[in-house]
Amino acid sequence: MAHEIPELKVENLVVEYVTEDAVVHAVNDVSFEVPKGSTMGLVGETGAGKTTTALSIMKLLPDPPAKLVSGKIEFAGEDIVPYSEKQMDALRGSTVSMVFQDPMTSLNPVLTVGDQIAEVIRRHQRVSKLEARTKAKEMLELVGISGDRAGEYPHQFSGGMKQRVIIAIALACNPKILIADEPTTALDVTIQAQVLSMMRDIKQKFDTAMILITHDLGVVADICDTVAIMYAGRIIEYGKIEEIFDDFKHPYTEGLFGSLPNLQKRHEKLKPIKGLMPDPSDLPTGCYFHPRCKYATAECAKRQPKKTYLSDTHYVECLAYEEGTGVKIEGGDIK
């Protein structure tokens, strides 16, 4: 797979929010690849930098205060970081699309849903108004909403329907990359399942590369091919879905799984991770996770761990896997 040019490649991405009071290190040296047709899950707690990473890819970071400090973002081998706003606008909505977190607020309340879908079609495809409208209706049908409702306003739709509309907008121009930022978090559980299966179907149909941002490991298990675990702006573990789910290595990943209710091991107590995410404007020295890590040693506070490749596709950032550090992981769920 290394020979094929991936649809999306992020390399050493660093993003900071610069305010008067402090510099917030939101994304710290993040790298990953998403090949055509595959789905990467980006998992982490709130504030881990997932959305910032996604917005960097869209180049929709609120600037100021956000600054893309360094790194590369490649769409099919083409670095878009130096792109102008105009060049980006040509890509947004057509090459790369994003589905946002909260469907309730992500649609413009004063425009009809049909207009909102047609708008992106008109922007990126040479079609007439009428054709765009017809296409918009088709998109609605595709996401399971009757095309007749194109003339209605967002407030006339339920949350799940709104999310479908947003997905319809995102997919209207067959994007090569789709970023879905917690697309189901705000929805009822039953509707979550519907939306997810729909997304999976559509993704397969269009062979889209997708990033699915979530803190729900269940969702990841459902549709992702690879998983990146993010903590304090770093990807601390990355691997294929089986590698992560069956063989996670990082204490934080362990914590994540430990805080999930497990139906098979119902007798076991949940093991939530103690403490809170560090303040991203005042990150700890060494491994960012060490203050909360139950295996942490003095060494962990001194040096930031490097990527340790456990296989071609699986890496972890933890001193325990680096040689000669003396850090050991014992007595947990990590095999």
Binding site: L60, G93, F100, T105, N108, P109, V110, L111, R123
Partner: protein, 308 residues
């Protein structure tokens, strides 16, 4: 929608009756004898007594109020003491001029303030923003009549570009409309900026941006579409302030409108004209507020849904 408008119009009636009552009560405190106003200073005592009797000026207040209301329903606002002409004729003769001035002021205000507000919001904390908002604060702090005088001094007396008084041409309209519109513009600019600041942080703006439709379109179509409600609300409220302001602005610019007429009626103690003028302004103000509410429905489908 139609029913809503009808309902609002019906609701307007008690408000207007109340306004009439309040102004009626206030104007009743006015010293001076209407009879003498009508008949002139040389009139005899008998003529005055007869006039009072004939006009029902001796009746108790409630009766006079009811008579006024019934006359009003028949389209009469009484007779001017000075000119002996029906008040409604006097007012309607000047109403177009006042509306011309008021609309020009509000249009001027909107045209200048909305773009300033938007740009200030988009470039928050920039030099433009700072200058714009300081200017807005100054605009609010400036009494319109003083600004009017300053404009006359600069543009009529010193530069001789624009006429200082009278009406008739577009040139005549500029200075009074600016003087009357500046504080309104300042208020609208401020509200536009603060609503814009809120709106451009909304999720749907991010959605719009993610479509790649370009910043201009995002601002003009998506952000503005949502910004109109607070802007129009403030514009509607400012319209009331502006109507009050026309009383002085029309005096400063010798603009022959209802405001100037009202002021002259006050100084001539022409109570029916004062009463009629204030009632007319209030009705206009109420109708404008109603229009604002109706316009809401065209801007925001959620509000429209509530009206139905």
């Amino acid at each position: 929608m139609h029913r809503y408008i009808l309902k609002r119009l019906v609701q307007l009636i008690p408000v207007i009756l109340g306004v009439v009552l309040i102004i009626f009560l206030i104007m009743d405190l006015t010293p001076g004898d209407p009879a003498r106003m009508v008949l002139g200073n040389m009139a005899s005592e008998e003529a005055i007594a007869a006039f009072r009797e004939e006009q029902g000026l001796n009746d108790p207040l409630p009766i006079r109020y009811l008579r006024y209301v019934f006359d009003m329903l028949r389209g009469s606002l009484g007779t001017s003491y000075r000119s002996s002409r029906p008040v409604i004729d006097e007012l309607l003769a000047r109403f177009p001029a006042t509306m011309q001035l008021a609309s020009a002021s509000i249009i001027f205000a909107l045209v200048i303030s909305v773009p300033i507000g938007i740009v200030s919001a988009l470039k928050q904390n920039s030099l433009f923003d700072t200058v714009g908002m300081v200017a807005a604060l100054l605009g609010i702090a400036m009494p319109a009549f003083w600004l009017g005088l300053i404009l006359i001094i600069s543009f009529s007396l010193k530069l001789d570009w624009l006429p200082s008084s009278g009406s008739g041409s577009f040139k005549h309209l500029i200075l009074p409309a600016v003087a009357n519109g500046v504080s309104c513009a300042a208020n609208i600019a401020r509200i536009t900026r603060s609503s814009m600041l809120e709106i451009i942080r909304q999720d749907y703006i991010r959605t719009a941006k993610s479509k790649g439709i370009g910043k201009m379109k995002v601002v003009l179509k998506h952000a503005m579409g949502n910004c109109w409600i607070p802007v129009i609300t403030v514009a509607g409220l400012q319209f009331g302030t502006m109507l009050g302001g026309t009383v002085i602005i029309e005096n400063v610019f010798a603009w022959n409108g209802v405001g100037d007429f009202l002021l002259k009626s006050i100084s001539a103690k022409d109570t029916p004209c004062v009463l009629g003028g204030i009632v007319m302004f209030t009705v206009v103000f109420s109708v404008v507020n109603l229009l604002v509410d109706i316009v809401y429905a065209f801007i925001d489908p959620r509000i429209k849904a509530q009206y139905q």
